[in-house]
């Protein structure tokens, strides 16, 4: 079709403006410069490998009693981390313990993300009555301590990982919902949302194709903070006895088991290894989360 429009010239239409750095590329570049965050990422990667490995193989059967002398010290041949009060190899138990921690951490984070994002998007976009109702619900949830939920579930359903996951998710989704609501409130005022409506987009399309992808940065950062919080809380529950049932090894439970020998005067290693593992893992997630947050902060761009 013949057109009177000036065809694209070699420079205007034919080439792009100098490629301004994309948002993701710039963020990744800054992340790479953050040594602490990189170290944390490497550690987490190793942890994931150990966790996967422990599904198929550990030096010894972690639940088998008596593979080594009780209270064996670290450095005993064949048992680099020593053994606990029942003669179980601590290294194997530590490896297997990572499964529970990571599982709880990641599954809880996933639930929180789905729930929090879904609710946050809706109330942020629709506002009005929905917003008021959920503000109430959110405040109710803030008032209920997760430990209480865990105990109730323990009584009703018996011991299990599910209890912990539900209890922690119930205590964590509100922060995510609030964050996403705030993001939605600010994004919905932007001109490209108006343009989408002018182009005939329906509400659902606007929420999932426009608002959600643009809020993804803070959502991801928040999710990386949910994981360590969940791990810590689950370890705490296990320490108190409301976690996974014995003999499944898990770091909180191991710490609990190592507590009384400590009081009885034995060496602290049974408590020490899981405590260190927990601390380092939590630090790693937090440093990585900080690194992500700084990397995507537009104000820090040089």
């Amino acid at each position: 079709m013949a057109t009177t429009v000036t065809p694209w010239s070699e420079y205007e239409g034919g080439t792009l403006a100098r490629q301004q750095v994309g948002l993701w590329r710039d963020g990744l570049r800054r992340l790479r410069r953050n040594r602490l965050a990189l170290a944390a990422l490497i550690y987490l990667g190793l942890l994931a490998c150990v966790c996967l490995l422990s599904l198929f193989w550990t030096p010894y059967n972690p639940n088998l009693i008596g593979v080594c002398p009780t209270y064996a010290l670290p450095g005993t041949p064949g048992h680099p981390l020593g053994c606990d009060d029942l003669g179980r190899d601590l290294l194997s138990r530590l490896m297997v313990g990572s499964q529970v921690s990571l599982a709880v951490g990641l599954i809880t984070a996933a639930i929180v993300m789905v729930l929090g994002v879904g609710i946050g998007l809706l109330i942020g976009y629709l506002r009005g009555v929905a917003d008021a109702i959920f503000a109430l619900i959110i405040n109710v949830f803030y008032g209920v301590p997760p430990l209480m939920i865990a105990i109730v579930l323990y009584v009703l359903l018996g011991p299990g990982v599910i209890n912990i996951i539900i209890a922690i998710a119930a205590a964590s989704w509100m922060d995510m919902a609030r964050l996403v609501r705030g993001q939605t409130l600010s994004i919905r005022e932007r001109e490209y949302i108006e343009a989408a409506r002018a182009g005939g987009a329906r509400t659902g399309k606007i929420l999932f194709s426009h608002i959600f992808p643009n809020a993804l940065g803070p959502i991801i950062v928040q999710t990386t903070y949910v994981v360590p919080a969940a791990i810590l809380t689950s370890a705490f529950f296990s320490f108190l006895g409301f976690g996974v049932p014995a003999p499944q090894a898990d770091w909180g439970g191991m710490a609990s088991e190592g507590f009384s020998p400590l009081l009885a005067g034995f060496d602290p290693y049974i408590l020490l290894w899981p405590a260190i593992a927990l601390s380092v893992t939590l630090l790693a997630f937090n440093f990585f989360g900080d690194g992500l947050r700084d990397a995507f902060d537009p104000r820090q761009r040089r």
Partner: protein
């Protein structure tokens, strides 16, 4: 490969507007509630019509309500009262799906080329979105249409996989134009489409809009604060002040004849890139500042700043109606006849 562009100066023959108005606004009012009991009268009774094929310009300074009016016309925000009739259909009465269907014919181009494109979507997806929303075309046909649209607005059709941040301001505005064209609309409301662009790029986009109008039989409502641009691209100009239209004039005649003192003051203030013209012009001074739309003045809203107002008198008591004043002008002033003489 490509044909030479048409660069003949148009001698003023533009698509002849047919008799039937494409869009009619009747007494459109938009009030915002700000706080207890206070109302912002952003648009306070605006009536006009746009005929098919013409370009109507809408000018005014900040606070005059032109952007709000644009959003009311496209139903991005509902009118407080009044009617908007598009191709005979009352838009103001529609809601939900039937309103959404009307959007196919009535599109909008936005001001900020950096904010009006979703940074997370590719350019191809952005342009295709209206097509997807209404399931107009699918698959390969959709891709072909996107490439055609890119070509038509002067961009390389192979750029559909790029992201908005890789383009300059002028190129992004072209993308916004391509998106507005996707559904073959009849009327496009352009909300300050060149204000955020560099001077040398403005001319490119203005030319593009004119070419597209000729090519696709488009009708434009062109909203801007830059009178030079509006005068150039429009056949008729509406001048807004504090939520009301104060003058309607043919653009060819605008500079030489005015029937409202605000229009005259506005024209005397527009800078002209010609030192001789500038040295001979006299600025019509307006006293005070633009009143707040929360508390518009009584009677004629302009009386607080008007150099020829009779205060106290008819100007502070009675609101002048928008009427024919001759020469194809409409104006809302009690003393239109004196505007030319009194202000020099």
């Amino acid at each position: 490969m490509s044909s030479a562009p048409s660069t003949e100066p148009s001698t003023g023959t533009r698509p002849d507007p047919s008799g039937e108005p494409l869009l009619r606004a009747v007494d459109v009012v938009k009030h915002f509630n700000v706080g207890v009991g206070t109302v912002c009268r952003a648009v306070d009774g605006v009536s006009f019509e746009i005929r098919a094929g013409e370009t109507v310009g809408l000018v005014g300074e900040s606070g005059c309500g032109k952007s709000t009016l644009a959003r009311v016309l496209t139903r991005l925000t509902p009118a407080t009262s009044g009617r908007v009739i598009f191709e005979g259909v009352e838009l103001t009465g529609l809601r939900g799906e039937s309103l959404r269907q009307q959007r196919k014919q009535l599109q909008m181009i936005f001001q900020d080329p950096f904010a009006s494109l979703d940074p997370r979507m590719t350019v191809g997806d952005i342009i295709a979105e209206p097509l997807t929303n209404f399931k107009v075309v699918r698959g390969k046909a959709k891709d072909a249409r996107v490439q055609e649209l890119l070509r038509v607005v002067g961009l390389n059709p192979y750029f559909n996989n790029r992201y908005p941040h890789e383009f300059s301001g002028g190129q992004r505005q072209r993308i916004g134009i391509a998106r507005a064209l996707a559904l073959n609309p009849k009327l496009i409301i352009c909300d300050e489409p060149v204000s955020a662009l560099d001077v040398s790029i403005q001319a490119q986009i203005i030319n593009l809009l004119e070419d597209l109008q000729a090519e696709f039989n488009l009708t434009y409502l062109f909203i801007a604060h830059d009178l030079s641009v509006v005068r150039h691209i429009s056949q008729r100009v509406l001048v807004m002040y504090l939520g009301k239209i104060v003058e309607v004039a043919p653009s060819d005649d605008l500079y030489s004849t005015q029937f409202h003192p605000y229009t005259k003051a506005l024209l005397s203030a527009v800078p002209v890139p010609d030192p001789r013209v500038e040295s001979q012009r006299r600025l019509v001074e307006l006293s005070g500042e633009i009143p707040s739309p929360l508390h518009p003045p009584s009677g004629c809203r302009f009386h607080t700043r008007c150099p020829i107002a009779q205060v106290p008198g008819i100007c502070s008591e009675q609101e002048p109606p928008l009427e024919e004043k001759g020469n194809g002008h409409l104006a809302a002033c009690h003393f239109s006849a004196q505007v030319g003489a009194a202000l020099g």
